[in-house]
Amino acid sequence: MADFVEADNAEAIIARIETKSRKIESLLKQYKHVEALKTALEGSPPKTRDERCKSANWIVVHRAIMAIKDIDGLLNALDAEYYDILMKYLYRGLSTGDRPTCDQCLKIHEKLTERAGLGCILRCLTDTVNTV
């Protein structure tokens, strides 16, 4: 568990994230918000220590989160395995202090907690190894 996936070096991951970001832009243009968020959350590189990879992925996820209008629909369509990752990104969003981001993150946080329970929040807080 301690050996992080350094086989992909940071550049390769960032390149992957850029491809992902283009894909997400196109999905958003087609109003497929749920798909966009799923793509953004997938392949989140939690096992890299590299800050740049995490920031790059955050930008992509942030774009997808801000585009969401229908939160209930989103959570209905999202599988349970994504709840924990989404919650981590929500906290990252809340930590930015930026008003529109926080507004959006809070809205989603409320609904997500209803669905996933306090355990989801606990898993975010206690997991200091796989951070986003």
């Binding site: 809070l106 209803e114 355990g119 898993r123 997991d127």
Partner: protein, 377 residues
């Protein structure tokens, strides 16, 4: 409801243990004493107060065959108490610790006991007949942080430990002269004291409450991230499963049958987990509720207030989590400890007791819940 008896003994209870005939309970009321209560006609009367420790007693275990009580405390000491002429007489056990002792358990044959400590060590103590005192052997290697919980395998040699470094480890505690080498038992590793058999890296956060299943085939422990881990076929190729659940973390677990586990923790309500026929473990239900999930109304009024502040003007819908205070209603605060009330080694546990920070001990009986719990029980 499966609760048979609830009694509030003090402000807060750290740990408790039952006498061999389950008529008396020894508990620590969150101070340096051990109180022994006897139940008679619905009343609990205090029989003894054992005062020897200087700091909080963090672990108590009462052996069922030899009727000895072992207590460990944050004062780094341990005492073995024997009943002589109606009084409990302590014998000091020198653990050689430089940090607090956190948990203790008698081995199945009661010739040894294991103590987990904040000194990142586990002490295995056994009785030396020639010198007439208890000797402690330390397992110093491996643990990177405090050992929060210990559990003996039915074979009296393997010991599972959990630690705040998130890992669960199984060690051999074979002691020459105390344990007999069983020729058909496992690997040569099992006959060396302090040898680590396996290490389980499933948790990213603190691990608590490890227990073996009645046959010793499965291990269960909890992590502070609201997860419970099950490991089947403990050995060279274990089958591990992590189950994430909705609510607050657990602190302790108990196997009530080979395929069913009860977890207790910060939700103040015991949770039932079971393995289905394919061996996949999952959360089944809270012990007090019907199977139908109640969505939204599972938060007490305090949470509603807190969420209200958090979301503030955001949520237009009133945080309509109704103020149903009781989620099961028995314990008001975190449950730390769950103890079986059935004979050790029996494959099914019909009764168990829980104690918590609210100072209550509740006794639960599963006699009438057989159909509700399903065929895994």
């Amino acid at each position: 409801m499966a609760v048979v008896d609830v009694h509030r003994f003090s402000e807060s209870i750290t740990c408790h243990a039952w006498s061999p005939d389950y008529s008396m309970v020894a508990l620590c009321p969150n101070n340096n004493e051990v109180h022994i209560y006897k139940s008679s006609q619905d009343q609990w009367e205090r029989l003894h107060v054992l005062q020897k420790h200087d700091q909080i007693v963090s672990g108590i275990d009462w052996s069922s065959k030899s009727n000895k009580i072992v207590t460990v405390s944050h004062d780094r000491n341990s005492y073995v108490w024997s009943l002589e002429g109606g009084e409990w007489v302590p014998t000091l056990v020198i653990l050689r610790l430089n940090r607090a002792a956190l948990c203790v358990q008698w081995s199945p044959n009661e010739n040894k006991f294991a103590v987990g400590s904040g000194a990142k060590t586990v002490c295995i103590c056994y009785y030396e007949q020639e010198n007439n005192w208890w000797v402690s052997k330390l397992i110093r290697k491996r643990h990177e942080s405090s050992v929060t919980s210990v559990a003996w395998h039915p074979n009296n040699i393997l010991l599972a430990t959990t630690s705040t470094d998130g890992k669960c480890r199984v060690f051999s505690t074979f002691i020459k002269g105390v344990d007999t080498k069983d020729s058909k038992a496992g690997s040569p590793a099992e006959t060396k004291f302090g040898e680590q058999i396996i290490q389980l890296d499933l948790s990213y956060s603190w691990a608590f409450g490890v227990k073996w299943s009645p046959s010793g085939n499965t291990l269960a422990y909890v992590g502070h991230s609201s997860m419970i881990y099950f490991v089947d076929d403990v050995g060279p190729s274990p089958l591990a499963q992590s189950v994430a659940f909705r609510d607050l973390p657990l602190r302790d677990v108990l196997f009530i049958s080979e395929k069913m586990v009860i977890g207790v923790g910060y939700d103040s309500n015991p949770m039932v987990f079971a393995a289905d026929d394919t061996g996949i473990w999952s959360f089944i239900r809270y012990i007090g509720e019907k199977k139908a999930e109640s969505s939204g109304s599972s938060y007490s009024s305090q949470f509603s207030e807190a969420f209200g502040k958090f979301y503030g003007s955001q949520s237009k819908s009133a945080t309509a989590n109704d103020a149903s205070e009781s989620r099961g209603g028995v314990h008001d605060n975190c449950i730390n400890f769950i103890v079986s009330l059935s004979k050790a080694g029996s494959p099914k546990v019909m009764r168990f007791s829980t104690s918590g920070l609210d100072g209550k001990i509740a006794i639960w009986d599963l006699e009438n819940m057989q159909e509700e719990l399903g065929h895994q029980f």
